[in-house]
Symmetry: C2
Subunit: 708 residues, 2 copies
Amino acid sequence: MSVNPLNIIMSPKSIAVIGASNNPFNMGSMQYLTLLHSGYPGDVFPVHPKEETVFGNKAYSSISDLPYAPDIVLMVVPTKLIPEMMKDLGKLGTRHAVVISAGFKEAGEDGVKLEKQVISIADEFNIRFLGPNCMGLLNAQYPLNLTTAPLQTPPGNLGIISQSGTYISQTLPYLGKSGIRLSKAMSVGNEANIDIVDCLEYLEEDDDTKAIGMYIECIRRADKFLEVVSRITRKKPVVVQYVGGTDAGGRSGTSHTGAIAGPDNIYNGLFEQSGVIRVNSIEEVYKTGHVFATQPVIKGKNIAILTNSGGPGTAIATTLDGNGLNVPELSDSVQEKIKKSIPGHASSKNPVDLTFHTDIDLMVNTLPEILMKSDETDGLIVHGIMGTGYAKAFFPAIKRVFDISMEDIEKGHMFNLDKIVKMPSLYGKPLMISTFFGNNDNACSFFQDNLIPTFDSPEKAAHAMSKLYEYFLIRNRPNDNSSIILPIPKSAANIIRSGNGVNIDEFNAKEVLRSYGIPTCREKLVTNYKDAINAAMDIGYPVAVKACSSEIQHKTENNLVHLNLDNEDEVKTACESIQNIISGVPMLVCEMIKGDRELMSGMTRFPGFPPCIMFGMGGVFTEILDDNKIRFAPFGKNEALSMIETIKSHEIIENYRGMDPVDKEALSNILIKLGNIAVQFPEIKEIDLNPIIIQDGKPFVVDALFVI
Amino acid sequence: MSVNPLNIIMSPKSIAVIGASNNPFNMGSMQYLTLLHSGYPGDVFPVHPKEETVFGNKAYSSISDLPYAPDIVLMVVPTKLIPEMMKDLGKLGTRHAVVISAGFKEAGEDGVKLEKQVISIADEFNIRFLGPNCMGLLNAQYPLNLTTAPLQTPPGNLGIISQSGTYISQTLPYLGKSGIRLSKAMSVGNEANIDIVDCLEYLEEDDDTKAIGMYIECIRRADKFLEVVSRITRKKPVVVQYVGGTDAGGRSGTSHTGAIAGPDNIYNGLFEQSGVIRVNSIEEVYKTGHVFATQPVIKGKNIAILTNSGGPGTAIATTLDGNGLNVPELSDSVQEKIKKSIPGHASSKNPVDLTFHTDIDLMVNTLPEILMKSDETDGLIVHGIMGTGYAKAFFPAIKRVFDISMEDIEKGHMFNLDKIVKMPSLYGKPLMISTFFGNNDNACSFFQDNLIPTFDSPEKAAHAMSKLYEYFLIRNRPNDNSSIILPIPKSAANIIRSGNGVNIDEFNAKEVLRSYGIPTCREKLVTNYKDAINAAMDIGYPVAVKACSSEIQHKTENNLVHLNLDNEDEVKTACESIQNIISGVPMLVCEMIKGDRELMSGMTRFPGFPPCIMFGMGGVFTEILDDNKIRFAPFGKNEALSMIETIKSHEIIENYRGMDPVDKEALSNILIKLGNIAVQFPEIKEIDLNPIIIQDGKPFVVDALFVI
């Protein structure tokens, strides 16, 4: 493995900033000033063609003027200057850079050309660079800040990788207000050289980063992403917002699989297979990431709720319940302990609801301790701890009648939170605070300062708790023994490679499946009704007769499929009807598999991704039901089982309404082997196995379409 | 219609507060002080048994001691005193009260008794009251504040009705910080006398209330709620968070319909039928409500996005797209106008993305005007307007090198937002601001002060915009000509009423359906195989033969259904098989309807609700697919059509993959008439019509179950 360029870029001993001037409001200056302010301990060289000094520090007129080759160079200059400067860097001996300047690939054809030029110059000199069109980076531990704004919180344990610069610059004050602390952050821009996978590998090794948050619009190396993230998520949680995937756009509709597998589904499959936790807003990236970075790994799904108000308590319980967690009624013995402390009308069940009360010690010490200590709970959410925030709100009303100062009031709202903030580490369980007061409430800010996550809506605390549980399941998922790729069956190779890029017909498609050991219906290819009748006799009635040609699509809609034929007459009529529509077309006489469920599987390809294998509800309503899962081949049995067991209608696989449970071993074999076919025959563009009919619990592929 | 008691309670000319003392931290005192502080112009009488004065004002020792009967009395006293005080009120002549005290119905058996006692005393004296166990109310316009905290914003146009007191007290500082302004707010507590429907009728008439937000755990008068809210939502939007509905609990599983219709589905049906916008957090109640209260009604779904950063722009576009709105590429002529102003590398398409830039006037004047004025857009979301918030963040870095004050910096960030805040009313289109800076940013606080909603995550602005569009569709929905209830068919009455509470068998169930004109398969009831063969001849092969008895459930699982019988032998064998399992059981010989789709409908009842009619995907996988809609009977054609057209798989109804489009008229007739049956025969507990098979586009009920 080559050395990660971010090792140098994130911890350089010296930095040149090209583009810093004495105007504090241009971007280069902002980054320069932020860098100086960050407490960065290394050498910093402003480079400016005219200025002698920049903000009082000696400026260098050009790269070649620098006293030595700095570890990295930050470039914030007009786009067209970048190629030449990159050359200068190379000559000087600097091997790492950050290119802030925009106007490359994202700006049209000329930009694409320019970007290619920069890439090739960098390659020539072995320069690795972040950007272009990025917003810099920060390393809170070093410290080093090359963004446009100072960090407002102490160093923390959440690493951020973003394809939008905004999310590591404009949002820093927002993070400050929310008490969220970062370890490292990188804006990757156009990823011309260093991409998010490099960033992931860097954060994987960074001991200060306990959780990773990402904003993603596009993954360029999906195969590598899958490999790296699958490894990371067994050690550190990865939270991702992916946008840009709702419009499937002009995808081909030749196969069901192709029609269904839009970008959003494909990315979902990638995230599920690699163990990524997907969220739908940047707020959740930060806040869920913060929870992961600060709270112990959850060990189960039983959550205690402590509240002084029924509404928020119920909202938290409902949200937890809706996300698959439990709010168990506490045992009598735990309730007895609670009842000793609480007023008579309060509830000890869970949520533990004090209703309106004034004994704050109950809420911050006695009850949290009982609830965190109990082995009936795996985590705790508290709503209703109010400090000076409420006092400040009430102050104007009380001030009318009392000569009292805000300070006096505040004194009455000082209470000791030292114990509660230590409970997560003491008991190894997560704690979250729901409060409508922001950090101008002393309790809220104390929680933030002590790394207990606070949320301004009860439902958000519950959502975050459910993400902890989601990660618990991910972390404990079985290892997938990646599929052994079997030798290519000879007949499969013959059929597919003899086609010369022409689609193969249903019979040959199923021959390929059979050669891989995928069960299909029994069938014979015939050209006339007499042979069809003979075939039917061999197979046994009832049978199906279908036109069989690689050129026909939508057989059913075109009346080229006749099912449930019970005798010679019916077979003859069916054959005649088919021949009337397409004279001379070969026909397939198939065993009529009568099953009780229709599933499907398929394969499609998506640029930059390994082959996509889909599994889901099948039959004629496949698209409408839209209940399917995607994984990337090759994969082994555990991954195949996870596809089967996580479709929405997964109950259908089990002993549903007296049906035989589906043989999951056999079904997962179909998926694994379909993965093998996809890997071994890159010339196959798409595959549909639809339907896969379940008869007596066994799966049989009844129709197959290969698009070459 | 009787006069709404809230007319007096929300605008009393005089108030007595029982429970105010000189300790400012008990609840009665807090409410008293808040009331005084609110600027309430009427008479206020503190009542206290011992104190001569309360906070300097003359106190009255008891209700009978009051100088005259005040319009309302606020009661914050020990629970057990309430009945006696309610009597005293009645004797004094006060007819309206607010009972804050808790410890009633919510606190167990004794509380239930006490609450009944209070209700009956109130009834005796014609007293109407809010509560008990509530947190008061506020009328921002009057002004009057009977909660526990001062209002932090000027009067506004959002009315709040909450079953949790917290959401009109603890959250007031939160609303202040968010710039959200209320008109009226009511905490309804246990709803012993006044309930949320009364509150809705009050807000319906209140001209200051333009939108209504609700927190609901339970609706006690669902029929009245449906009537009132259906009317209100044609004039004012109603946003509801409903919690407590995910656990369907111990519902009977006799029918599919009963098993599927848990509280959450039932409430969803109620909300859809009445035009309520359901949200999933209290944050959304407030923020969506604020958008409705401040922004013009949206007129279409084409949204413009203006941003200075690609990430937030893309996130907004993706979220809008995912919620059914459009982000159309702007026409050449509009793009030309935009291009005149923006830098070369910026995008004029939509999102209009300036990327990093410093000309703030572009973002706040020129471009918003072009985008709001254009008839290609129905609304605008702007991300990236930064005022002093960013300056404050950057200040420490600049302060290191410049002797500059924060004030100087702030001066550089003063820009004129007067024009942009007027655009919504000028152009009649909604405007929303996405900003990571809170109200300590001068731009953010200016927007808030001028009633332009601000959001701290781009996705939230997009969500709120999508709610505006949801309301546009609700407001413009066709009026449902409520179903004409036809006379009860005689045979239906005979069959159902002769049963004496015993379930009726499938044949009779379908007889009832046929008497209402609901199409079923042709069928005959027989007792032996010979009659069965004769019946099959009459009906025509193929047929189905099933056991027919009101006592049999799960016919299919018990092998009591034989389908696709083609000849006499098969009919005979089927009959024998059935008789072997249940000797002497009557049998139904049915026309074998071969269709291409299976739908279902059903009826169930839920305490306090009108009869629930369900429609959805049918067949053996009904529960697994879980794709259905609920409405409440009686209803007319528009409502029936909306059920049919809004199931997730609604494409199945259309000309899907060459199938005949379903006759929606015939299908909606089944639903309307099922509603009639439910209304006319309250003794029927549940009905399943499953499956309803579609043959050549026509629906036929093939199996029916009536639970009496």
